[in-house]
Amino acid sequence: MMISELTATELQARLTGGGLCFGCGPFRLRLNSSLQSLLTVLHELYAHYPIYDHSGVDDYRMTLDWASPLRRWLRPVVRFSADGPAPFTDVPITRAFPTLEWGMNWCIAIRAHHVLMLHAAVVERHGRVLVLPAAPGSGKSTLCAALSHSGWRLFSDEFGLIRPEDNAFVPIPRLISLKNQSIAVIRQFSPTAYFGATYHGTHKGSVAHIRPPQASVTRMTELAPAGWVVFPRWQAGAALTLQPIAKERAFMMIASNAFNYEVLGEQAFKTVAHLVNNCKIYTLVYSDLTQAIRILDELTQ
């Protein structure tokens, strides 16, 4: 059963009762909240995530609720927490949902040290994944949103999770979060993309979320090996260039891009080495999204 199949009353009963347990990739999440405004947005944007019953072991137990009873009425602010003290400062109720999304990323980033976490968008086609590691602002989410609406299966727009045991990439099809100009770009590029509301004035500017395509959620337990690594960079007016990178340089770029390379130590070294030795690795500079998608399609035929 999926979240979209719950009625608003059932959804609310779960959120305010024992918690809404749902799956995203390998993780089982439990969310508690009494915020009315969250109901519609969860119903729409989390629509395809499977609901789990109360038996089962949670990975992350999250709460998003009023910071205090008083702050429900007086300049209302909400607080995110997960098994401990709040990691973020309280935010106005209008920004509750983006905070939930960041909170979930935070949970994964500080805890999921059983896998190597690349700061990368990952999409799959023909049984192999294309990894797009990049710093924020380099256009990886934009590219990821475009690719996942052009025949690629979405793994993640934020986390490239690799299991050290078998070097397989693990899908974690969370919402794609777009910022500022890229919101309009993707609206135009992929009319089928399902957008949530745009939140203005967050600490990252304007933010909007795209619901992961349903197929990426239904197939979220299918892992895949790496095929290609492409470091994307969007640059206004630049000519399209796709250049191979030497393996030793690629190694350093991937290692320093990972969230937890140091934590995993030797396992991380072996995992990155395997990735570098088994993939073709490029840098991609682009200004036009359509051209970029075309060249990636050709590359991965």
Binding site: P26, V57, D58, F88, H113, H114, K204
Partner: protein, 383 residues
């Protein structure tokens, strides 16, 4: 019978059994795991559960995502241990021509000497012990070699220098670990501090193969672990269960030899820590049924407090040390944590000094000076 357990009892029994009988872990239900993971995470014992299950080859017998969470915690623990060992290595490098003995304390000692408490144990910072007469040279040398002083108010600086058993923490400019440099085991102003015997800690210290750092002799190491357990602690976290587990592990490890028990009683008396040893062995036995020889129990009974105090401590200590159910925290556990915190402070300095210290802290609070600066990820991203 199960339905009669209160939530607190259930949380406690799950955690204590997990530590005492890890072979039973494969029989837990999902709802037990949900509670145990929360409680063990709070008490920082996930790494230990991983190591035990790995040793028993039972990782495949627990739910997949339990194994994943435990593995994740243990990876973090191993990373911390690597970082701390490396920090110790760098300190020894910086001090190598000074000819000053350096004793690794607590976590670093357990790790370099490969003692049982090291398994899966998370350690926050590095503690070392150097003789008081060398501490100025050691500090200066580390400052010359790239370590920095942490920023402290003049009051705090004075607090450390005059009253404490350690100097203000240092941190290397390229690394994140804080190092605490001690010159003795107890604060100088502590009720139980005995100045004269500090030198004997060094005289009895042991060498460790593969490093120039030394470790305390077994009885001193256990007594120091007890100092940590019972004389520190904070009102939020209470006494640390993992510190008690250190004591239990060390007693089980060293306690196979009768000599250890004889020595620890002698040392406890010399170091004026008899009462501490009494409490330590009492609660190791009450909570983890640690095997303590009868003659030790009889002998340490002389250090016991008067009966009403013993009743009080028997009520307070388990409340402050054992987990609460995260959904049903009890007021009395909070009270116990605060009372034991007060007790620790009461012993830490003489009443007049304590009054002075507390009034200064109250004054800071009234003036709204933050106790520490907290920077959340959002604050950084706003720049």
């Amino acid at each position: 019978m199960q339905h009669r357990q209160s939530p607190t009892q259930r949380a406690r029994i799950l955690l204590i059994n997990a530590v005492r009988e890890p072979q039973q872990l494969s029989q837990l239900s999902d709802s037990d795991w949900n509670l145990l993971l929360q409680v063990a995470r709070h008490k920082r014992l996930l790494g230990r559960l991983y190591v035990e299950l790995d040793r028993l080859k039972l990782l495949d017998a627990v739910p997949n995502n339990v194994a994943a969470q435990l593995r994740a915690a243990n990876n973090l623990v191993r990373h911390r241990q690597t970082v701390l060992t490396w920090e110790l290595n760098r300190i020894l490098w910086a001090l190598k021509d000074l000819n000053v003995p350096v004793i690794a304390l607590k976590g670093a000692a357990y790790v370099i000497a490969d003692l049982p408490p090291a398994a899966g144990r998370f350690f926050a910072d590095l503690d070392i012990l150097v003789p008081l007469e060398h501490i100025t040279v050691v500090e200066q040398r580390l400052l010359d070699r790239g370590w920095l002083k942490t920023t402290l108010s003049p009051y705090d600086e004075r607090y450390y220098r005059l009253w404490m058993h350690e100097i203000p923490p240092l941190r290397h400019r390229e690394r994140e670990s804080e190092i605490d440099i001690h010159h003795t085991l107890l604060p100088r102003t502590h009720r139980f501090n005995v100045h004269a015997v500090t030198a004997s800690l060094f005289a009895q210290a042991h060498a460790v193969s593969g490093t120039k750092a030394q470790i305390l002799a077994a009885p001193d190491m256990v007594l120091h672990a007890l100092v940590h357990l019972l004389f520190e602690g904070n009102p939020e976290e209470g006494l640390r269960l993992r510190d008690l587990i250190d004591v239990v592990d060390l007693c089980n490890h060293f306690g196979t030899e009768v000599l250890f028990w004889q020595q620890i009683m002698v040392r406890a008396e010399q170091l004026n820590l008899g009462r501490l040893l009494y409490y330590g062995l009492r609660y190791s036995d009450l909570i983890f049924s640690t095997k303590v020889p009868t003659f030790v129990i009889e002998k340490t009974a002389q250090f016991a407090p008067i009966l009403p105090i013993r009743w009080l401590m028997d009520w307070l200590i388990p409340l402050a040390i054992l987990p609460e159910h995260p959904a049903y925290p009890r007021y009395r556990a909070r009270l116990a944590r605060q009372l034991l915190y007060l007790r620790a402070h009461w012993l830490r300095m003489p009443p007049s000094l304590l009054m002075r210290h507390l009034s200064y802290k109250v004054w800071l609070r009234l003036r709204n000076v933050p106790r520490y600066v907290e920077i959340k990820p959002q604050d950084l991203q706003q720049l």
